[in-house]
């Protein structure tokens, strides 16, 4: 489904990502692990279309991805929650929802919020919830887009250990049969729980 070919991105005087290639099949769940600053987030942002690569290309189903991020069939949970503070949690979750009918949209928000244990917070604003709750809302928002590829950039970092594994399991179930996952994490345990294939990055390159 996704092919990344010879991707390179340079910031100032260092290579964030250097000649990186890999592929992802439909509904596959792959983790990317590595030290801080090894280029994991840059890689995800390039796939999402938020950062333009200096060299290389990203293909989906053999076609070059659109320059417009929202046409890429990709959604993402960012390192910071990046919720929009002037919208309620519910409005945040439904922002990218493909459904037009109001009832269906409400149902989707309630369903995701309940599963991710933020059901009672739907009418609150992001600044009225805790960091962990905001993180769950950000996960719900990305899943609600129902895109073919879900990029997760250390999405469980604000959660305590117990909640982390619980939510991780739920994300796995929610995406099963719907989306492929590219999961950036520091935690080997999390990676093994969620993903079936593991990649490791060092200084912008994939290593075995």
């Amino acid at each position: 489904m996704l092919e990344v070919k010879h991707l390179t991105k340079q910031y100032e005087d260092r290579n964030a990502v250097s000649d990186l290639s890999f592929s992802l099949t439909d509904l596959e769940r792959v983790s990317v692990q590595g030290e801080s600053g090894c280029g994991k987030t840059t890689l995800l942002k390039m796939i999402a279309g938020l950062v333009m690569p200096d060299e290389g290309e990203i293909l989906m189903d053999g076609k070059t991805l659109s320059e417009d991020p929202h046409l890429r069939q990709v959604s993402m949970v960012f390192q910071d929650s990046l919720l929009w503070d002037h919208m309620t949690i519910e409005e945040n979750i439904l922002f990218g929802s493909p459904y037009k009918e109001k009832g269906k949209r409400k149902e989707q928000a309630a369903f995701l919020a309940d599963i991710l244990e933020i059901g009672e917070l739907l009418q609150r604003y992001p600044y009225q919830v805790s960091g962990g709750q905001a993180r769950r809302a950000a996960i719900a928002r990305a899943i609600a887009c129902e895109k073919r590829l879900l990029l997760l950039d250390e999405p469980f970092s604000n959660l305590d250990k117990e909640a982390r594994f619980r939510i991780l399991e739920k994300v796995k179930k929610l995406c099963e049969g719907h989306s492929a996952i590219l999961f950036v994490t520091h935690s080997r345990q999390e990676a093994e729980m969620l993903c079936e294939r593991h990649l490791r990055m060092e200084e912008g390159k994939l290593v075995k």
């Binding site: 340079q10 910031y11 999402a48 279309g49 938020l50 417009d68 991020p69 929202h70 890429r72 990709v74 959604s75 993402m76 960012f78 910071d80 929650s81 990046l82 919720l83 929009w84 503070d85 002037h86 919208m87 922002f95 990218g96 929802s97 493909p98 604003y125 992001p126 600044y127 009225q128 919830v129 805790s130 960091g131 709750q133 905001a134 928002r141 990305a142 887009c145």
Partner: protein, 512 residues
């Protein structure tokens, strides 16, 4: 798209000098005699004096506000309430106060009512709120952790002067450059204190000769000084890290002297608000009588201001958004050039803007607008476009770009990210720019004097004329009207912006 936005800004902003240049080929070069060089020097002295005094007060006042006023309350920004008040009201305040105290303490009457000193004092009071605002914003960008770490090693005063002030310096210099330019291009205050300045010379020359190309050439030495100051002042901003809301509380224990200076600075800010109001209150009885004949002028001012705001706010927004974006790789020099070009129109004196627009309207099929209020509105939109862009730039710098990127990725329809995320984030900036520029147009004299259609005098010009020739009660009545208008608009702004502080600023990432 980006190029269109830049063109939409640059063409009107640089229209007056370009049109004068194009239409004046072959015009005789005005003579720069000793008197004119003297006037130029005098203008520079007033501008430098206002700039230095503003910076000095702003540094201590901002520190006082930063450390002793509640951080999350808009109360901290109380000093902005009369910021857009026309500077001639401060001139009237100065004169009224001397007269008032002179009644009780005769020695007060020996305080100069004319000359450079009152001119510098009045301009300082007029520009002080903007200076303090920039100084305060620069303090808010300081990294609280860095500040705290330094406090462990040295005393609070030294830490401020050695660590924090150097970080504020690029902002202070940029703000100082803008104050210098505003002051050097203004003639309304100096003329009230019987000081002849170079901007007045341009106006007088145009009034006497009617040769617009000659006015442009005459303005070149002043614009050259302005551009030099602008470059020197704005260039250090290049090396400033992208501002982030520091968000950390710092409690340095300053020496009594430093604390005293901070309190003095804050005290001056209070006076800057209270004195104009108090000095006009004794005339309140006459106000009702004088208010009636000013209705028409007030209407002209309002229509002009509203039209100007409608014209310039979207164009200013487009440019401000471009300026607030991180420059693309290898395009740092391009970003600096863009900055300079954006600020360049600030160096064009209001009177020259007016002459340029007048000439443009006379030479083109747009001449039919000359008897309409659209003419001063377009002139003011051109004059205040850089102000609008700068104000909005200041607001947009605090926007969290990642939230906009997230919206662009997650939107289900094209345009959703703009209308539902970016526009609400821009809303406070749009409001602040619209209201501040509206108030600036309300107080404008330089441009209005050149462009007002016959029989459609705005209130600012009426006040300016009365300040020269009219009874002080009448002037006070009009000025009070301006103060009330300013207070109303700023209150409106408070309610418009209140509650939107969360819309996408970096600081709002913090959840409970």
């Amino acid at each position: 798209m980006k190029k269109t936005r830049i063109a939409l800004y640059m063409i009107p902003a640089l229209l007056p000098p370009i049109w004068l240049l194009l239409s004046g080929q072959g015009a005789k070069m005005p003579v720069m005699n000793e008197r004119r060089w003297g006037l130029l020097l005098q203008s520079a002295e007033i501008a430098a004096g206002s700039f230095l005094l503003c910076c000095l007060i702003a540094v201590f006042a901002a520190l006082g506000l930063f450390l002793h006023f509640p951080k999350k309350k808009m109360l901290r920004w109380f000093f902005m309430i009369l910021a857009p008040l026309p500077s001639y009201i401060y001139a009237l305040t100065y004169m009224n106060l001397i007269r008032f105290f002179g009644r009780w303490i005769p020695s007060f009457l020996s305080v100069p009512m004319a000359g450079l000193l009152p001119c510098i004092l009045v301009e300082t009071m007029a520009y002080l709120p903007f200076a303090v605002a920039i100084a305060l914003i620069s303090l808010e960008q300081a990294d609280g952790r860095e500040w705290k770490a330094a406090l462990l090693m040295k005393d609070a005063d030294l830490v401020y002067f050695q660590i924090i002030l150097p970080r504020q310096l690029p902002y202070l210099l940029a703000m100082g450059a803008v104050i210098f330019i505003l002051s050097v291009t203004d003639y309304s205050i100096p003329s009230l204190f019987q000081v002849n300045v170079y901007a007045m010379e341009i106006f007088s020359d145009y009034s006497a000769m009617g040769n617009s190309a000659c006015s442009l050439q005459l303005a070149i030495p002043m614009m050259a000084i302005s551009v030099a100051v602008l470059l020197l002042g704005v260039f250090p901003l290049r090396n400033v890290k992208r501002p982030m809301a520091a968000g950390e509380e710092v409690h340095p224990n300053h020496s009594p002297l430093m604390k005293g200076l901070c309190y003095l600075g804050v005290g001056i800010l209070f006076l800057q608000i209270l004195l104009p109001i108090l000095s006009l209150l004794p005339f309140i009885k006459e106000m009702a009588a004088e208010f009636v004949p000013a209705w028409e002028e007030m209407f002209h001012s309002m229509v002009t201001g509203i039209l100007a705001v409608i014209l310039l706010t979207p164009i200013g927004a487009g440019m401000a958004l471009i300026l607030s974006e991180r420059p693309e790789k290898g395009k740092n020099n391009y970003a600096v050039i863009l900055w300079i070009l954006t600020l360049l129109p600030l160096s064009i004196p209001g009177v020259l803007s007016g002459i340029g627009v007048l000439k443009f309207f006379s030479d083109t099929p747009l001449a039919f607008l000359r008897n309409h209020l659209a003419m001063p509105a377009i002139g003011m939109a051109i004059r205040y476009l850089p102000f609008s862009a700068l104000i909005q730039f200041g607001c947009y710098m605090r926007m969290d770009r990642d939230k906009i990127l997230a919206a662009r990725l997650l939107e289900s329809r094209k345009g959703q990210a703009f209308f539902r995320v970016k526009l609400p984030m821009m809303y406070p900036g749009l409001c602040i720019s619209a209201i501040v520029v509206f108030l600036l147009t309300l107080g404008d004299v330089g441009c209005a004097l050149m462009l007002m259609p016959p029989g459609k005098e705005p209130l600012s010009v009426k006040i300016y004329n009365y300040l020269h020739y009219g009874a002080s009660e009448t002037v006070a009545g009009f000025c009070l009207l301006q103060v009330i208008c300013c207070l109303l608009c700023m209150s409106l702004l408070y309610f418009a912006v209140k509650g939107h502080g969360h819309a996408g600023s970096k600081a709002s990432d913090k959840t409970i």
